[in-house]
């Protein structure tokens, strides 16, 4: 596959880069002139989720990249999330990121997802992470690279079942990990603030308040009722007394009929008075209790209650305090899941690596190039899958990474049946001397002369034939001629 040209338009400015079939050196004598931006823009225009550089917001640009590939001459136009693809008088539209995989199946002409997902990791070395990415990890943005997956893809070993299970367990682990964090946080707030943050405490108060209010309501009603009875009895007394009745006792004594002589009347007055006092006392006590609880409860929301951070935090703490998670149980689950995952990974590795010709061949290539770059590699294929990078020095890793990429490219090309472009950003790392970089370039020009090579650097290298793409000032530096 060859990239013919890339057109970038941002606002009123545009730029077209015509790529040579062979070696392209994106070059500037100093840094920050848009070399990295150009390389990333190229990948972005091919439908990959590439993060911006600080100079250009890719999603605001219109990018058109033309490629020659097994599908013929393909024009890819990307504008934000929309991808329009023209080839052989046909036009396809893709919506990213949803259709990303579909488009790449088309572009790279393969349905092998294990390969597709690792192509960028194989052909592109980013200036930031690329030179430390050996066999698994992040290429750029959210694009991952995994040697096991690639090897499985290259050797047609389908482990999708195991991979799914591994992912599934990974997801669960993430959730349980969060749960554990929360339960730890919960323990923390419980031990610090105890009842203060517990919603149940406030809820209990609120409930108690409702009960007290209800009781207050009934007692007040009862008080009114008694007052009413007292009033009625009083008017009955006045009514009787006003009649000025006098009665004669059996001993002939004349007795006026009034509250003192009416049997039981004073008793009733006393009784009702006490009743009234008891209820009034109860109401007073209820008022005290209600006031006390109101003081403890937070102020009801007023118009000033635009969400403030404190309330949100308290709300959060209260919600957490309500959570009922046992950290020990969660820890146990996490340990179990981790051991499950470890088992699955071992199984996956076994499935991937056992008697794998592709891996053997790749390792051979790695060894060959590493030796050429004066680097010794352990003599077993399993080293291809090593996860022990700590003992590798910076320069050593740099050279190994390069050898790995080339080995991958060779195997992928073998599988797909066409040559891949190689895109390398800033091969001159801090710890790699000129000599080594030249040796790397020499390998490229010798063994990959049919590949399209794009290198961004502040140095010039010895290639037989090289197109310089000079960067000066801004990357997009021409006024738009016509808005098509």
């Amino acid at each position: 596959m060859k990239i013919i040209r890339t057109y970038i338009r941002e606002g009123l400015f545009e730029r077209t880069i015509n790529w040579d079939d062979n070696v392209n050196l994106v070059f500037s004598s100093k840094n920050t002139c848009g070399k990295t931006t150009l390389l990333r823009a190229l990948l972005f225009s091919l439908g990959y989720p590439i993060p911006n550089t600080k100079n250009i917001k890719f999603e605001h640009c219109i990018m058109i990249t033309e490629v020659d590939c097994t599908r013929g001459h393909v024009i890819i136009r990307r504008e934000g999330e929309y991808l329009q693809v023209n080839y052989e008088n046909k036009e396809d539209k893709y919506f990213l990121p949803h259709d990303q995989l579909e488009f790449h199946k088309f572009l790279w002409n393969t349905d092998n997802i294990d390969i597709l997902e690792n192509i960028i990791g194989s052909i592109y070395i980013d200036q930031e992470k690329g030179w430390t990415l050996l066999n698994r990890g992040k290429v750029i943005g959210s694009i991952q690279y995994n040697i096991d997956q690639l090897v499985r893809g290259l050797s047609d070993r389908d482990c999708s079942e195991l991979v799914f299970r591994e992912k599934h367990i990974g997801n669960e682990l993430k959730k349980y990990q969060q749960m554990l964090n929360i339960s730890k946080y919960k323990e923390e707030i419980n031990s610090i603030k105890d009842e203060l943050v517990s919603e149940t405490y406030e809820e209990d108060l609120q409930k108690e308040l409702e009960l007290l209010k209800y009781e207050h309501f009934t007692q007040t009603k009862e008080l009114k009722r008694i007052d009413n009875v007292i009033k009625n009895n009083e008017s009955f007394r006045k009514y009787v007394e006003n009649m000025k009745i006098r009665v004669r006792a059996s001993n002939g004594e004349e007795i006026p009929v009034n509250k003192d002589t009416i049997i039981g009347m004073n008793e009733y007055t006393d009784m009702l008075e006490i009743k009234r006092r008891i209820i009034a006392g109860q109401i007073a006590r209820l008022n005290d209790k209600i006031d006390k609880i109101r003081l403890e409860l937070p102020l009801p929301d007023t118009q000033l209650s635009f969400v403030n951070a404190d309330t949100t935090l308290r709300e959060f703490d209260r919600s957490i305090a309500k959570f009922n998670i046992d950290p020990i149980t969660v820890s146990n689950i996490i340990n179990k899941l981790k051991s499950d995952r470890k088992q699955i990974r071992e199984q996956l590795a076994e499935e991937t690596r056992r008697n794998n010709k592709v891996a053997d061949e790749m390792f051979e290539v790695v060894t060959k190039y590493a030796q050429e770059l004066n680097t010794e590699v352990e003599g077993r294929t399993s080293y291809l899958f090593t996860s022990n990078l700590k003992e590798l020095s910076g320069a050593l890793l740099h050279k190994l990474v390069f050898s790995y990429r080339l080995a991958c490219i060779i195997q992928i090309e073998k599988k797909l049946g066409y040559k891949l472009p190689i895109i390398i950003d800033s091969p001159s790392g801090k710890e790699v001397d000129r000599e080594n970089v030249n040796a790397m370039m020499k390998i490229l020009s010798r063994d990959f002369k049919d590949n399209q090579i794009i290198v961004a650097s502040i140095y010039e290298y010895d290639f037989n034939k090289v197109q310089y793409i000079k960067m000066q000032g801004r990357l997009i530096n021409q006024q738009v001629q016509s808005f098509d």
């Binding site: 009722r225 009875v229 039981g264 009733y268 008891i278």
Partner: protein, 335 residues
């Protein structure tokens, strides 16, 4: 010390108020009224014969273990009671404490356990001598009438109020039971009301304000005759569930009729005039059964005939039972 611990002075007030309750109940038949923080003494009980019971109250927060100051406290109390005696109207002079060891003498300690009442003559000689020595110290040994002196102990300790008040509550329960044996479960409520009233009384500057026996006793009557606290003991012809439901639903209506003097006095007079040939204990239920229809005109606004009948019966029972309770209690406490 936890912040819930009562300060010694609040604890002292609490003990004083509760001691007043105990003293009132001790003397309920002859007493007329009580004053906490009286003119002369901590508690003064006014008797119907015009005399007074003077009482000095001393409390110790950790009463069951701390005896360090009990003798000084008793010395102070005796001196104060001697002053009260000088007023010339005393019937009894009582020293009340929550210490089970008021003489700080382990050998006499067991006679002061629980609610103990010891007049001077019933004390062992060494206690008598201690008191006499205290009187001598203030030059009162020749004057003071030891025959009026009583040492009274009331257990009263801890911050757990249930525990602190348990003897007080028991005393009230016993009293309520002695008045109306069928009543139960109102002791705590009565205690709350009396404590509140007496505490309020203690805070009034003017010592002329007293709590009368009538006020205290009427609180009991009101609570005992509370319709919702009453059992359906006389009501053979109403199912207990129905009874409870009606009482709950129509509490206010029942109470209002029971409290209306013009209506109640009619029922009481009818009952007084009602002659019944059978057993005395059946008179009440028989009266209700045969007479309830004569009050139906008062309930004409009701639609449900069965409910009306049950309501009238309940109201009649209630009025008559209340009447009986009032007269029983008044007789018992000499009101």
């Amino acid at each position: 010390m936890s912040k819930r611990n009562a300060s010694p002075s609040a604890f002292g007030w609490d003990f004083q108020v509760n001691a007043a309750i105990v003293l009132m109940l001790d003397n309920i038949e002859q007493a007329k009224a009580v004053r906490v923080e009286g003119e002369t003494e901590d508690i003064e009980i006014f008797m119907s014969n015009g005399k007074k019971i003077y009482s000095q109250v001393k409390s110790v927060v950790k009463s069951s273990s701390d005896f360090s100051k009990v003798k000084e406290k008793m010395q102070d109390a005796i001196a104060s009671l001697a002053d009260a005696y000088a007023n010339g109207d005393s019937e009894q002079l009582i020293y009340i404490t929550n210490s089970p060891n008021p003489f700080n003498d382990k050998t006499t300690m067991n006679m002061f356990h629980g609610l103990a009442v010891r007049d001077f003559d019933s004390l062992p000689d060494k206690c008598k001598n201690k008191i006499l020595a205290m009187l001598k110290k203030i030059g009162q040994d020749e004057i003071f009438a030891t025959s009026q002196l009583i040492i009274r102990t009331i257990p009263f300790e801890t911050d757990n109020l249930e525990e602190r008040y348990k003897e007080i509550k028991q005393k009230i329960d016993d009293f309520v039971y002695s008045v109306i044996p069928s009543s139960s479960g109102i002791g705590k409520e009565i205690m709350g009301i009396w404590q509140k009233d007496l505490f309020h009384n203690a805070t009034l500057q003017n010592t002329k304000y007293v709590i009368s026996k009538k006020e205290m006793i009427w609180s009991i009557i009101v609570l005992i005759t509370d319709i919702e606290k009453n059992e359906s003991e006389f009501m053979d012809d109403i199912d207990e569930c129905d009874y409870n439901e009606i009482v709950h639903m129509y509490k206010e209506l029942i109470n209002s009729y029971t409290e209306r003097f013009d209506f109640a006095t009619k029922v009481i007079t009818d009952y007084t005039n009602y002659t019944y040939e059978g057993l005395r204990k059946d008179k009440l239920s028989n009266f209700v059964l045969t007479n309830w229809r004569s009050y139906i005109s008062e309930f004409e606004y009701m639609n449900d005939d069965e409910l009306t009948e049950q309501l009238i019966k309940i109201i009649l029972y209630n009025i008559l039972k209340q009447q009986r309770t009032i007269s029983n209690i008044k007789k018992r406490v000499n009101l």
